[in-house]
């Protein structure tokens, strides 16, 4: 996995975009190993599909070569190392992977697993939680997507832009 990311440091943006897509796909594989097929499915279709296509289209509109950075990335490196170290420090007290006694598996989730077959009667628990127990989050999610649609329409709406260019000489 880590190697996939190393390659993402390529100077060529085109290959970087493709590698990022592959990274998403590998991430999706990992997710399905961890028993979340729903998420893996989505990650594969979004990360490796839609996002990559959009990035490629953008590249075709702009340029596909990245210039040499002007400054040495020392400060960012320090920030990253500190943040990473803090996170690793935080993991020390974290529950171990897959341990069924974790708080996560004891507190709220059991109701979803044990009761939803009677309350909702939908075999796919992810769907049950997504659409019913936490249906309001999903409504929010739909609104986010809707916002993105509106946003891109505002940014790239065809009719407006020609006027923008026409009006430029006034300024």
């Amino acid at each position: 996995m880590a190697t996939a990311v190393r390659i993402a440091r390529l100077r060529g943006l085109f290959s970087a975009a493709i590698v990022a897509g592959i990274y998403s796909l590998l991430g999706a594989c990992w997710m399905s190993v961890l028993d979340q097929p729903d998420v893996a499915f989505t990650e594969a279709s979004v990360g490796a599909g839609i996002s990559t296509v959009l990035i490629l289209v953008t590249l075709s509109l702009t340029t596909s070569e990245e210039k040499e950075p002007e400054h040495t990335p020392l400060l960012p490196l320090i920030v990253i190392l500190i943040t990473g170290a803090v996170l690793v420090y935080g993991t020390i007290d974290m529950p171990r992977l897959g341990d069924p006694d974790n708080q996560v598996h004891r507190h709220v989730a059991p109701r979803y697993i044990n009761e939803s077959p009677h309350e909702v009667e939908v075999p796919n628990l992810v769907t049950a939680v997504l659409a019913s127990y936490r249906g309001y989050d999903t409504l929010g999610e739909t609104a986010v997507i809707f916002t993105a649609g509106i946003g891109v329409l505002i940014l790239l709406g065809g009719a407006r832009r020609r006027r923008w260019v026409a009006g430029e000489d006034r300024e």
Binding site: P37, D38, A40, F41, T42, S45, V46, G49, I50, V53, L54, V57, T58, S60, L61, H118, E119, V120, E121, V122, P123, N124, V126, T127, A128, L130, A131, S132, G135, Y136, T138, L139, E141, T142, A143, I145, F146, A148, G149, I150, V152, L153, L155, L156, G157, G158, R161
Partner: protein, 139 residues
């Protein structure tokens, strides 16, 4: 890619199945992995494939931006509508149990409609975003 016959034939063969698969994922989300969001993305992917292989203009003739712009708000409205219907029937917002006499049936109905709403909006937005980018490439 307009003049290359291999992608064209392959796409012609594939696209109907991609769209069909989207509907399968949409309605089958209760039983297997999948649901409205994934279905919307797959549907949009089918349309985008069509636009890439053939031509954006041809694609927009088949599926005009006007319809797409209708789909976006309609999905969200359907979702909110289900919630409001539950409110009118005496439950709290989005409580599907009150939609039918049997709470479990109500849940099924609610989830089905809500997923349809998500799928509609997602497909609409994804296609609309692609159209916007595509039109920018063309001009």
């Amino acid at each position: 890619m307009k003049r290359q016959s291999i992608p064209r034939v392959a796409a012609k063969l594939l696209i109907p199945y991609i769209l069909l698969y989207a509907f399968y994922v949409q309605w089958h989300g209760d039983y297997g992995p999948g649901g409205g969001f994934q279905a919307g993305v797959i549907f949009a992917a089918g349309v985008i494939l069509y636009a890439i292989v053939f031509d954006l203009r041809a694609c927009q003739r088949a599926l005009s931006p006007r319809i797409i712009h209708l789909l976006m708000p309609l999905g969200l409205l359907l979702y909110i509508g289900v919630g409001v219907a539950a409110m009118l029937k005496g439950g709290t917002f989005l409580n599907y149990s009150v939609l039918e006499h049997d709470p479990v049936h109500g849940q099924h109905l609610g989830i089905l409609l809500v997923e349809l709403g998500v799928g509609t909006t997602v497909a609409g937005v994804m296609i609309s975003i692609f159209y916007s980018f595509g039109e920018t490439v063309r001009s």
